[in-house]
Amino acid sequence: MAEHVATGSRSGLRSALPLLLPAYLWLTVAIFLPLSAMVFFSSMTELPLSGKAWSFTLENYATFFSERLYLTLLLASLRLGLEVTLWCVVIGFPAAYVLAKVLKGRSREAIFLLVILPFWSNGLVRIFSWAMVLREGGILDTALNAVLPFKINIDVMYSYPAVVIGLVHSYVPYMVLTCYLTLQAIDDSLIEAGRSLGASRLQMLRRVIIPLSMPGLVAGAALIFVPVVGSFMEPRILGGRTGTFYGTVIEDQFVAVFNWPLGAALSFILLAVVLVILALTSPVLRRAA
């Protein structure tokens, strides 16, 4: 009997293997190998191009701690990540609430499409469109001056707010989608029950809806915070000279300075910091939920 069960489970594994294999093969090729290569690079003294001599070292990691600039930029990037995430919550959560609980049928589909639209457009195109809008003499400037009786000068381009605007626009759909899913799972009768007990809409939001939406808010925040901290495209194009962040420095090491070892080391430090932040905040947020 036991033997029979054993062969049964073994044949189960054998039949599952062909199904699992493509996924694991892909993960190995696409993530594990490049990442290992990066670990390897990060501990080299020199990129072994044109036969330069190299040896193993931890100096690249030490550079982060010896030069204050890197820490300053990392903190600026973390602040950017926090700020963009907060704006995404402020903008995305109400939108998700309206989508999940107020709109029905066709109008919901239409609005949903508008929310998803940024996903379908090319990131670079998106950023350059913002550049057209935000620069002096751009669309926003011209439009406001055409409407307003007095002259104002709108030039948000190449500033910190421009970077935040571009990033929020790119990432807010994540927050809308994750919150939409959790909000949709909240039974309407819970809201009705709360109202029948005399709770105002604000009280319902604070005591029932937001706590029950916590998983979506946390998932959305993680999906947004992590890539924003390492972002380089938006800061570079919309931020100009003010757009120097940790992500742009890493990018420089790879594409401009060709110091791959330092770029790789800086990336892994970022990865470590982000993982520590997620590990520290997730239990707190889970308890709140």
Binding site: D187, L190, A193, R195, R207, V208
Partner: protein, 355 residues
């Protein structure tokens, strides 16, 4: 605590008349059942009284005060939902405390009121649990405690026992009735289960297609239904259709059926008679039918369904199948194919105007 008066209430959803000129008076402290098939408007009526939806026309008064435009949060009602609708992110005690704490009551008051409510529903020891750790019956009790702890003027229940299994449902019926009597709150209770409506309520309102068909104490509706629908929806009934004779009706084949005195309909009008299956006596047809007193019909048993304490006979008569319920007294049982005589008193026969 207060009574509820609903007057000429109408509510349309597009072309569909969900409520059509409904007037009903729920006296203070009574236990009412709103009974009807799905789509009859019973839940719409309850939601109107609760304040989740506003009527197109008509008036709703709670304790004499017009509330038809007052939103639910300010109506001071208690509501129990079919799926309980407990807040999954809160403990049982916090669920019960919710209504008091959003009102800003003092912590000590809340704690003692919550304890009182949990005692009343016999869940004093489970205050620290989460809703998902409770059984269906326990969740039902928590929902009830949460609805009554704020001392609402009216308690509204939307098919509260629908999700429970049969044995638990009977327990909860008794429990609900006990609690209602203990706090004396006006209770309006939506159900599609006629047995539940009969056993629990002081009065029943039967709805159909958005209209109130009949309203009254369970005994009155059962004994004197005013329409074929009321007769067949609340309990079981044999319906005979014919023309009125003054004392009853005449069937198309000429047989006369005498009805209870009281109802007067113009002779010759179309009408029907309703007879409850348990009011009919069934006996073997010995050939000598005496028409002396009461109604007598000949028929043939087509089927018998044995249910332990009683049996239901299906008797074919002139193309119509009649139901007769006979208590299990140990007497001989009749077999299918048996020619029988059915007798019942005119007092058990209700004359109903054709609708």
């Amino acid at each position: 605590m207060a009574g509820v008066q609903v007057s000429n209430l109408s509510r349309n959803f597009g072309a569909h008349k969900a409520l059509d000129d409904v007037s009903i008076d729920f006296a203070d402290g009574g236990f009412y059942a709103l009974l009807g098939p799905s789509g009859s408007g019973k839940t719409t009526l309850l939601r109107q009284i609760a304040g989740f939806d506003f009527p197109d026309s008509g008036r709703i008064a709670i304790g004499g005060e017009s509330v038809e435009r007052v939103p639910v949060e300010r109506r001071r009602i208690g509501m129990v939902f079919q799926n309980y609708a407990l807040f999954p992110n809160m403990s049982v005690a916090d669920n019960v405390a919710f209504g008091l704490s959003v009102r800003g009551e003092a912590k000590a008051t809340i704690a003692s009121e919550v304890q009182r409510a949990l005692d009343l529903v016999q869940l004093s020891k489970l205050g620290g649990r989460r809703p998902h750790q409770l059984s269906g019956g326990q969740r039902q009790r928590v929902a009830l405690a949460r609805a009554i702890v704020t001392k609402p003027r009216v308690l509204l229940l939307d098919e509260p026992l629908g999700a429970l299994d049969k044995a638990l449902r009977v327990d909860m019926q008794i429990e609900l009735k006990r609690i209602q009597r203990e706090i004396g709150i006006t209770t309006i209770f939506v159900t599609h289960d006629q047995e539940e409506a009969l056993t629990m309520s002081d009065r029943i309102g039967i709805l159909r297609d958005g209209r109130l068909v009949q309203e009254g104490p369970p005994e009155e509706i059962y004994d004197s239904p005013k329409s074929e629908f009321a007769a067949t929806f609340l309990g079981d009934a044999n319906i005979f259709r014919g023309e009125t004779t003054g004392v009853g009706i005449r069937l198309p084949d000429g047989t006369a059926i005498a009805a209870r005195a009281g109802a007067t309909l113009a002779a010759g009008a179309k009408a029907s008679c309703a007879v409850r299956p348990e009011r009919i006596r069934i006996a073997i047809d010995s050939g000598s039918a005496d028409q002396a007193n009461g109604n007598v019909l000949r028929g043939q048993v087509s089927k018998r369904i044995f249910a332990g304490n009683n049996s239901t006979y299906f008797v074919e008569r002139d193309g119509q199948t009649l139901k007769v319920i006979v208590q299990n007294t140990g007497a001989d049982r009749l077999a299918a194919g048996q020619e029988v005589l059915l007798r019942w008193s005119p007092k058990s026969t209700v004359l109903i105007a054709a609708n």
